[in-house]
């Protein structure tokens, strides 16, 4: 994330040019996961797959450890990160819970109750 972004809303990410440059290779990897054959290849050797796409050490660690927050910190776009989550059978609500420190069930309940109103 770029702290110099012209748009800097509090407590959220702006996927801008700097973030896209930082996360480019990782997002490119995520994009391939639309293809079933690529998913098989990835799952067979995730580290090798990350290396092939030229991910940084920190990005590789985040991907292998499914550290969703770190992926965003390292330039992941949620629309791309989500492809990895989908492959794992996880929902956007699950990710929402991760990003807000809640369980998926609590996150869903919070959304049904109207979501956040303090930002």
């Amino acid at each position: 994330m770029s702290s110099e972004s012209a748009l800097a809303p509090p407590k959220t990410y702006v996927f801008d040019g700097a973030a896209s440059r930082q996360g480019y290779r990782m997002n490119k990897l995520f994009m391939t996961l639309r293809d079933p054959a690529a998913r098989e290849e990835f799952l067979a050797d995730e580290a090798a797959y990350c290396e092939r796409f030229g991910l940084s050490e920190a990005q590789t660690k985040a991907v292998l450890g499914r550290d969703w927050q770190a992926m965003l910190d390292l330039g992941g776009s949620i629309f791309y990160v989500y492809k990895l989550a989908m492959m794992d059978g996880l929902s956007m609500q699950y990710l929402g819970g991760v990003f807000t420190g809640m369980s998926e069930a609590d996150f869903k309940a919070a959304m049904l109750a109207g979501g956040r109103t303090d930002v």
Binding site: L7, K11, F15, D16, G17, L33, Q69, M86, F99
Partner: protein, 241 residues
Amino acid sequence: MSEVIWGLATSHVPSIGAAMDRGMTQEPVWKPLFDGYRPAREWLAQHKPDVAVLVYNDHANGIDLDIVPTFGIGTADRYSVADEGFGRRPVPDVVGDPDLSLHLLQNLMDEGFDLTVFQELNVDHGFTVPLSIWTPEPGEAWPCPVVPLLVNVIQYPQPTAARCYALGQALGRALASYEAPARSASWAPAACPTSSPGRAPGSSTRRSTTCSSTRSRTTRRSSPRSPARTSSARPAPRASS
């Protein structure tokens, strides 16, 4: 000349499509939303256009981050429904209207909008959900050809609201000047950003549901010199907000 006969504005969050595909529209959590669509659907079913223009954004399905076009237009005669990672939605592929696409491209470029041209494009939920809201059960095909008009919302900076508004106005003029060979044309912009989950612990995990969509009909005029009918869309049936 062409006439805009309606506009539809709707959210396109993928879960709306999933709820329809899985027969969940009458479940308590979904019913209020779909009840809200009913009046618009009934009205729209009686006002079938000849062609639609759908303004939307892709979500890492038709386009990746190699190239991030600010505005784009499809000029193909067919658009496949994308597999977004969980199998493609069980809805028909989209038939395009290359003649109208090229007319719009020329006119919008002449007005200063530098559009990226897509001769191939897989359309994702940003495109198919608005179509489903209009036509819940399309059967083998959607009711009319559809032209995709893309607006980047995936990577900042996005075009300004003022620029998008100007594009919409230019689109209206371009449609009004379209002389379709013996058929009508209609259009349906539907652009809708979906905001993403933010940073913990104070993150905002809202999903924006602002989305606009418009359509129109082209009717053949008896005289080619007749003044272009300003495409002042009728009040857009408000499907959801």
